[in-house]
Amino acid sequence: MVMITALANPKRFLDFSRTIVPWTCATAVILLGVGFYWSLFATPPDYQQGQSVKIMFVHVPAAWMGIFVYGVMASASLVGLVFRHPLADVAAKSAAPLGAAFTALALLTGSLWGRPMWGTYWQWGDARLVSELILLFIYLGYIALWNAIDDPVRAARAAAVLALVGAADVPVIHFSVDWWNTLHQPASILRLGGPTIDKSFLAPLLIMIVGYTFLFLWLWLLRMQTEILERRARSLMMARGA
């Protein structure tokens, strides 16, 4: 908490992040390197899904990140609205495109993973996947709102309110989709992943999840630096005009 307030100064944040960014990059590269290799070359086929289970190693981390990043975005939004921390809106704005990308990736890989099981490329019966589709729309609306409002301060606050409203609604949306599915489809057969996952899958899956997280941290810090630099460039240009 003290660290967050200490980082409120953009210059101090830039200095701090400059030392951290290379480490997050290196950690991400190492973890993902190990993770991808292990997932592709050293995992057995699933007794039910065969080799298609390998898609789990790219789908589950992406899906998790889509939700995790939204949590980051919503938390940053809350800090910005309540505590008026000057970099909170930068943090939220920088996280959004990454979260949207992870969510889109989760949808694409999820579609491919489900195809052998479902016979189609999309199945409304998987509540998690359907909720992720709606989450993607929520991300896109958030990004669109940032871009549509001219005044950056207003845009930041409006986006923050939207992020928090979305955060409250997403669990409700997931619940309603789930309920809707129990109405129309037989339950677990259609869900991605199946009932039991071999224990030997857990380690590479965890490595991938942590690797994706560090990839996010790296790119998020990078984008925050970019945003701060762009704001500095804008103010320099305005001062020049004076």
């Binding site: 991808f36 592709l40 086929p45 065969g50 080799q51 298609s52 390998k54 898609i55 790219v58 789908h59 992406a62 990454l98 990308a101 889109a104 990736l105 694409l108 890989t109 491919l112 993973w113 195809r115 052998p116 990839l215 790119l219 990078l222 984008r223 630096q225 970019t226 630099l229 762009e230 500095r232 460039a233 320099l236 240009m237 001062a239 020049r240």
Partner: protein
């Protein structure tokens, strides 16, 4: 070796999944690095401009 690429018959699903994953992740990395570089350059140029005009009073 061909057995590996065949992925037990699921190749048409597994490989596109990994391909799209690599594409999206690498695109995210490249775009983030590029915009960072551009922003750094812009700030550096504007700051140099500013100090030059200051010297000339």
């Amino acid at each position: 070796m061909t057995g590996f690429f065949a992925m037990g018959g699921y190749a048409v699903f597994v490989w596109p999944a990994y391909a799209v994953t690599f594409t999206v992740l690498i695109a995210a990395i490249i775009l983030s690095l590029q915009s960072h570089k551009q922003a750094k350059k812009a700030v550096r140029e504007l700051e140099e401009e500013g100090s030059v005009t200051e010297d000339h009073g």
